[in-house]
Amino acid sequence: MKHGILISDHEKSGAGVVRRRDRPGMPDGSADKSAPAAKPKWTARRRRVVANLTGWSFAAPATLIILALTLFPAAWAFLISREHWNGLTPARQIGWDNYRLLLKDADFKSAVNHTVLFTVLYVPVVLCLGMFLAIALNRKIRFISFYRTALFVPLVVSAAATGILANFVFDQQFGLANNLLRVLHLPQQGFLADRHEVMWVIALIYLWTDLAFSVIVYLAALQDIPTDCLEAARIDGANRWQQFRHVILPSLAPVTVFVGVWETISVLQIFELVLTTTHGGPLGASQTIVYFIYNQAFNLSRYGYGSAVAYTLFGGTLIITLGLFAYARRSKIEAF
């Protein structure tokens, strides 16, 4: 496959190259192959040109737009990250200074701490709960469609609406949460206004919107487990726990890697919920990395510094993701 691209398509290369570039059974390829070698060269070449044109006219619009909106800005972001730039006056090249500054910035450190702590605590919880609830929902009992609807519906609620709703529910005076505590004769809480509680509350809100995703993915995986396997285990005398431990759990391993990576990436980038609830407060206690980037760039006009943070986050995410995959591979889990 790789050779096909490297070998140039000049007329000299002839039909042999065409054959190598073909994948069996492709409509255009088979048309090429059926052309007898004795036919004039220009026919084969014209066919190839037509095939290339057709292929690219299908592929180009999507491909070009995607590359223009990802690779191009990604490269640009790297250039900006080595500049001192407020968006108005000409940028000044400062090499790696933004990155150096980053290492000494206490605000950045606390944003990293919040985000990493959040990730480390949140991801295992959402994996366990997601798996558990998927098992709970994977049975034919009464009300099951009601349960599924109730647990899945937060998924379609936007981050903005969730944040505003959360402000209401966790309002100190009039909110539902403190009201419930009052009815239960428990002490009132500060929730989003309390420096020590705010990240926990945000985690809870995020769990509300996000839990359905892992449940749905696990549920799909559970339904793929052949019933024969479970039947066989049952006939062999495995109890419920043994069935779970030795049949269900191993077959969920690949999905667990996937959901784990997915959740890690999305939680490391948590932003919109922070914006609509606390704006990083109180006193920076809920400042996350992406909120930090947004604040540096769009409130303080420090675009170079913001880009340096963004690149650092990307690098960190990449390392963590690759690490998780390496771990999965070593544990012989076929994740993808």
Partner: protein, 271 residues
Amino acid sequence: MSRKFSRWHLLLMPLSLVFLLPLVQMLLASFTSNADINRFPPRFIPSALHISGYVRLFRDAPVGRWMLNSAIVSGIAIVSHLVLCSLGGYAYARLSFRGRTVAFVTLVATIMIPTQMLMIPTYFMFSHLGLIDTLGAAFVPFLTSAFGVFLMRQFFLSLPKDLEEAGRIDGLTTFGVFFRIVLPLARPALATLAVFTLLNSWNDLLWPLIAINDPSKFTIQLGLVNFQGAHHIDWQELMACNVVATAPLIIGFLIAQRQFVQTMSMSGLKG
């Protein structure tokens, strides 16, 4: 099993209610007078229902305009996604052309690039293209996606080739085969892609947030956030705004739950 009482109900029933409670409260509060909401101690059930929150909402803010803007953005995003991703997906699944593998691998690799890393340069790109303060800033990022192309490609790979070959023998061109034979078969995948795009584009806040300042160009999500800044004490009105912003997708979800869930589990298969 279904006849006898399952112990799972003891877990699932309370949990379902807890998950629904915030949404129920949102709906109730939007019909509750502020006097009732601000009563101390608060009550869950309002003493009377009022539509005054919605009346004030539509008087205070161009919510209709914001909904229309969001509908335009999502509409363009969905149509463009369906067209571009199915064309691209078909090319990468079935056609052979120079640079195909390189282009496809590059595309899939871009899935790894997080949106947040792109927000600063994209903002300046939009500004050079004159997209600031236009709806374009909201829909251009959703015109197509690598995930969509990938999804369609996987779907086309799963189709049997016989039909397409039969179409070719009958003298159809590649375009003819695609539009007359392949696309009608792709309805399930297209539905998944449409729901995926709807969810992403309707709920997006980031792009309008950084690029749109003109209130008449707000999407409903950005409008919601700005409205919160201006009316943070008027809970009734805010909850009414929340209900308006959320209702279309919740209603869609209730009608087509299977399709939504299918979409979510498909995006689980990505990568």
